[in-house]
Symmetry: T
Subunit: 146 residues, 12 copies
Amino acid sequence: MRFLLINGPNLNLLGQREPSLYGAETLEVIEADLKEMALKEGIQLDCFQSNFEGALIDRIHAGIGGVDGILINAGAFTHTSIALRDALLSADIPYVELHLSNTSARESFRHQSFLADRAVGIVTGFGAMSYQLAFQGLLAHLRKKR
Amino acid sequence: MRFLLINGPNLNLLGQREPSLYGAETLEVIEADLKEMALKEGIQLDCFQSNFEGALIDRIHAGIGGVDGILINAGAFTHTSIALRDALLSADIPYVELHLSNTSARESFRHQSFLADRAVGIVTGFGAMSYQLAFQGLLAHLRKKR
Amino acid sequence: MRFLLINGPNLNLLGQREPSLYGAETLEVIEADLKEMALKEGIQLDCFQSNFEGALIDRIHAGIGGVDGILINAGAFTHTSIALRDALLSADIPYVELHLSNTSARESFRHQSFLADRAVGIVTGFGAMSYQLAFQGLLAHLRKKR
Amino acid sequence: MRFLLINGPNLNLLGQREPSLYGAETLEVIEADLKEMALKEGIQLDCFQSNFEGALIDRIHAGIGGVDGILINAGAFTHTSIALRDALLSADIPYVELHLSNTSARESFRHQSFLADRAVGIVTGFGAMSYQLAFQGLLAHLRKKR
Amino acid sequence: MRFLLINGPNLNLLGQREPSLYGAETLEVIEADLKEMALKEGIQLDCFQSNFEGALIDRIHAGIGGVDGILINAGAFTHTSIALRDALLSADIPYVELHLSNTSARESFRHQSFLADRAVGIVTGFGAMSYQLAFQGLLAHLRKKR
Amino acid sequence: MRFLLINGPNLNLLGQREPSLYGAETLEVIEADLKEMALKEGIQLDCFQSNFEGALIDRIHAGIGGVDGILINAGAFTHTSIALRDALLSADIPYVELHLSNTSARESFRHQSFLADRAVGIVTGFGAMSYQLAFQGLLAHLRKKR
Amino acid sequence: MRFLLINGPNLNLLGQREPSLYGAETLEVIEADLKEMALKEGIQLDCFQSNFEGALIDRIHAGIGGVDGILINAGAFTHTSIALRDALLSADIPYVELHLSNTSARESFRHQSFLADRAVGIVTGFGAMSYQLAFQGLLAHLRKKR
Amino acid sequence: MRFLLINGPNLNLLGQREPSLYGAETLEVIEADLKEMALKEGIQLDCFQSNFEGALIDRIHAGIGGVDGILINAGAFTHTSIALRDALLSADIPYVELHLSNTSARESFRHQSFLADRAVGIVTGFGAMSYQLAFQGLLAHLRKKR
Amino acid sequence: MRFLLINGPNLNLLGQREPSLYGAETLEVIEADLKEMALKEGIQLDCFQSNFEGALIDRIHAGIGGVDGILINAGAFTHTSIALRDALLSADIPYVELHLSNTSARESFRHQSFLADRAVGIVTGFGAMSYQLAFQGLLAHLRKKR
Amino acid sequence: MRFLLINGPNLNLLGQREPSLYGAETLEVIEADLKEMALKEGIQLDCFQSNFEGALIDRIHAGIGGVDGILINAGAFTHTSIALRDALLSADIPYVELHLSNTSARESFRHQSFLADRAVGIVTGFGAMSYQLAFQGLLAHLRKKR
Amino acid sequence: MRFLLINGPNLNLLGQREPSLYGAETLEVIEADLKEMALKEGIQLDCFQSNFEGALIDRIHAGIGGVDGILINAGAFTHTSIALRDALLSADIPYVELHLSNTSARESFRHQSFLADRAVGIVTGFGAMSYQLAFQGLLAHLRKKR
Amino acid sequence: MRFLLINGPNLNLLGQREPSLYGAETLEVIEADLKEMALKEGIQLDCFQSNFEGALIDRIHAGIGGVDGILINAGAFTHTSIALRDALLSADIPYVELHLSNTSARESFRHQSFLADRAVGIVTGFGAMSYQLAFQGLLAHLRKKR
């Protein structure tokens, strides 16, 4: 199996950016840890981050046919991008939505997600650990479906 | 006369993507058919698709002075992009808004359009035929104005 | 095939009424033009206009079994008549909603339609040309379905 | 005692119209059954159906002085007609509101009723049986008041 | 000059209907009094009442070209009929909106009017006297414009 | 067949509580009358009342497998208890919602029901008679389904 | 009988202020005309204008016991002052609300009135004539009550 | 460390209830699996389920002082119980909110949670796997805090 | 006279729970102090606390006929329990609503009360002192009524 | 200690104004009673009433530095005056909000308060007794803080 | 040229009032600095502050004919006073709205302004510097218009 | 000190685009003028414009560590881009929001800003002058903080 990890805008700053809110680990470390975890499960994990909505869409399109599941932390695009939603639905690849912080505890405009209702599941609030939980949840979901 | 056809995010997937919803024709076929129809009317039709909002805006700007009318299927950006609206109004080129599916029959967040109130007219729900109807509507509108 | 063109309240005044908004053609001319266009396609077009909601409903009922498609410009009833919606759905005849003016550019109470979500498609804003585009859209839709 | 049964728009189609939603009995059968039930209770039942709001109002007015209770299935007018509400209140005749289908289970614009708050009671969702239950409820109400 | 007095649904019941709310005068008396008042000012007053929205629209259409001003108590249609609004605007005849009762003191759905924003002026709450005040207001408005 | 009658909070006070609003019959009398009516139809009727939401849920659960239909007057829980809704849906037993008073005529927070959209039908406003009408409606519904 | 005419903020500028909206007559002229009209009816009319909400309240209080009816054009306070409403209700003097312009045709924040629901009646949109109509309406109301 | 697993209303039916929505595992199995997982981590896990809001509150109170973390699937109470929120905040024990199904994909009244904004994190949509992910997330959170 | 003091969910934790918000006194102390104060006024005060909504309702029912006034701090049920409101209204015993903290200064979902509009009066924000003020207010109210 | 009692618009009419709603005591009596109660506690009480928002603000400003606590019945300004809120917060003097009537039981525009969220506490509905309870609550609050 | 600086309620307390929010400079200093700046540009600056809405309106009226531009910090009246808006529009003098603090960062009721949409421009958040920027903006605007 | 000037979508068209709304100066001229003004204050000003949201985010990220303050005219992104807000907050560089036109006077969707509540201050409506005022405001803010 092949998974794709998508990170949206500003997540390239992880570790530098408001550590009290997002934790001290950089995105590189998170990606490396997750790749390692994937490897143990026999899964190839591709990682992609961009601050361009269009680039994220292109990357999802590129995964059609070759990717079995998507982990996506769309950052601020979660709340504003219908185009990203459409990309995920068009690609027809099961995905898990995840967030580092607990978005329910933040500004009200972060309480709405254009991705949530079509996701396999959602994990929020566990910091870098959210990535690992999302990975396990997606994996369990796909294995059960087979 | 010169027309510009703008297609927004995910429309590059046409034909592959949810055919029950959007039809089986690819964007290439739609564009080719429309170019042929335009040719018969003595109109040059330029086509542009991108998943990047910024690229769509740049392309509209590039049309200023040289384009007489725009056909736009902005996809998901219809509902979220004020910048695209501003680009169309700044360019001051008459445009027709079109959609493949009947957006009124879909999720409530697709019922609002940032483009509609300043469009010449709107065509939704006829699948690939929407492009041809929009083309004819725009053409009739421009010929009447002369 | 047999089509029915339904025009709702105040559309009998076309040509007299606010020509800057609705154009200078009378309803008689529009109907005649459309009948001619229909004839060329081998379709019989019946036309009906009334300012009475009940009369429009009765006319739609009368079409059950004999009409293959409906073109409807319900005028103000678009925004207030659930009974008309029910008549169309009960009749179970595919219909296209059309408007002369761009309703999105007018008062907010004209932005809601009780007909739109169940229509084949919608055409708005092209003046008398809206009728012709709607006709073509409906025709293409029905031919494709066969 | 004399009762009046009012049926609003599209209910003339009963039996033909979406039987899965409204049942297979025609309005004629429903009216006949109800008249028979009324007869057994010594009540004269008059029946009236129209797709014209104005005709329904006129009929209610005509009942002033001679009608003891009204059973009304106002169909779509339930949700849009304040004039019908006013007619019922002006007539000052106790009425029961009824519906074949469960309106709470349908589109949100069917969740509001302009008649409900002044009705004796409301019966919804039992198909043709709704008429019989409404009749019994009205009868019991009027007998208790005496 | 020629004026038209339009009375909407249920106003035929005036005098009979909820006298504590609407007063004890019948519509015939009100019309007769107003005609007399008009006569003194050298104005011909035509009166029309119907419970059919379509009939009211037809009557307004019939006044185009021959009527200088309209007094309208649209009753419940005030709050629900965009078609009536369109008829008045299409006719392009100055009109005054009037009500017997103070609609602001009644149910919240009577607080909105589809006629008010385009009326010359509005008179509410004075019972039968509202007709006379509306008449004088319309007359003064038209005389000033000349 | 076996039916279950569920009465929610404060309904134990029936007969004592605001008789002008709810009538003078006690719950015991209502239950006895209904049991008698059921007996005549060959149906066993179990009755349960509690002021504890949890007890109502437990009782519904206990009915799984043995109960063919539920009559429920959930009182105030109608408007606040999603848990009760879930219990009914989990039990997968057809149910009829009923109320003594006309909830549409009372405070606005009583206009919403968490049970209504999944009920077979709804009966409100007929006082103790509501129970009998609901019983007949449920019975007719279940007999038709067989 | 004794009447009190209350004019609220900015009405001292009448005649100078936006004449296309409010007319060219000054408040002095309006007051003088109205006093003359009152005199003919044997009524003493006191006039008061202030830009201070507190002064308007004090003046209304001063009228308790000696004033039979109030004409009030509260200007902008109509939409913002609950204190003025309370003053009028405390004074327990019948009042008519009036406006020069048609407030329904202006900004949405002018569509709400804290005075309207308790007024005898309301007159809006007739310019200076609104004062005379309001006077007549109030007079007729008080004479009828005697 | 000692954890407490709280399950709210109707979750006792797991495995029997709508398996397509909630999965086929019973609560007993889920609890047993989770206890085993806890044991491996050296954690004692107590499990509690009730359909009574008050019983859930009492159980949380009982955990004060002795429980290090709470896993809570409050079911329908998630959306209606402020009292449960208060119990958790009063107890001042870190908790993770979890759901079997993806609540964002269900009725709109399930989109609001009274528990979410104060939770450590949230896991939804993974079926029985949600319990395990929530357990791991809570554990990681508590170990990091030490 | 006999008074009943009702305390709702989580108030058993008083003194232990968020003392900065609710103060350091336990419920036992508050009850004892209030009983003493009541004794001096010759009033018997019964106290009841429960985390079960149903138990609170049962206790209020039990007071019918024997209790002259109720002091109620319903805690979180204030904002969610229509059943509690119904219990109080059914019992027809004057009651005072009270809160330790200033609910207006807390989350927006605490700004609505299902009890407030029918209470004699409301006291909020004075900590344990709120009980004493509510007691005095209720006492004065009842003595004045005699 | 020195307290300031502020009474807002229309409260000068107390005793004369709607006694069924506000009681029969005049403001003079209320102030005298409260001064006496203050004296017994060794507190100097200053009283001020005005119908001018600006005068109330000036009086609050004048109290800066010399006043230890404020009792305020802002009347209608409670619901409309942000300026009064700002004056109280600028003065930085603890205040108690009070009302004679139960504002929750009145018009919906009286349910919002611009003062409540920053008050020490709130007392409503006890008539003249509200002043005494507010006084005691403020006193207890200030003594506890010392 | 002559400018008028208007300061609304509570701004007389500047320097004393919440310095962390509004800065430590008194209004006298701000006015003096601004007068000096005006002098350098050859502009006479008049300054006025009041806590009375009526006084601010009177002062604006007094400026008609003699004042070329207005700088206004209306404080809390910004969000509540339509009368002030009307005064500015009646005076027909260009004005700039300014605030010391960033109102977007404060309570939601401060996010609406009745003055903003008709202002030349708006400056918020720069403390005392806001006055100087507003002055320069107004000056540049008026010089460009000449 | 080093400042960064960010211009969002469509601002490259300045001078060409709707000059009546935005003025006749091109962005190049505005940038040059502002650089000159910065130079006089000893500040280096970098300028960046893009129609790509992602490019703006990247540019802000690039400024971390080297930029002391940001001037941002985000154009349409002001109202739709939470990602841009996050970029500014992540960069943790003080910024001033500015607009050429008065956004309060335009479409309602331009009244909300995702940047405003965290900005140092906001300047709108002064055309090209807005840039200079924003520059001065930012400069004064930063100098005061040192």
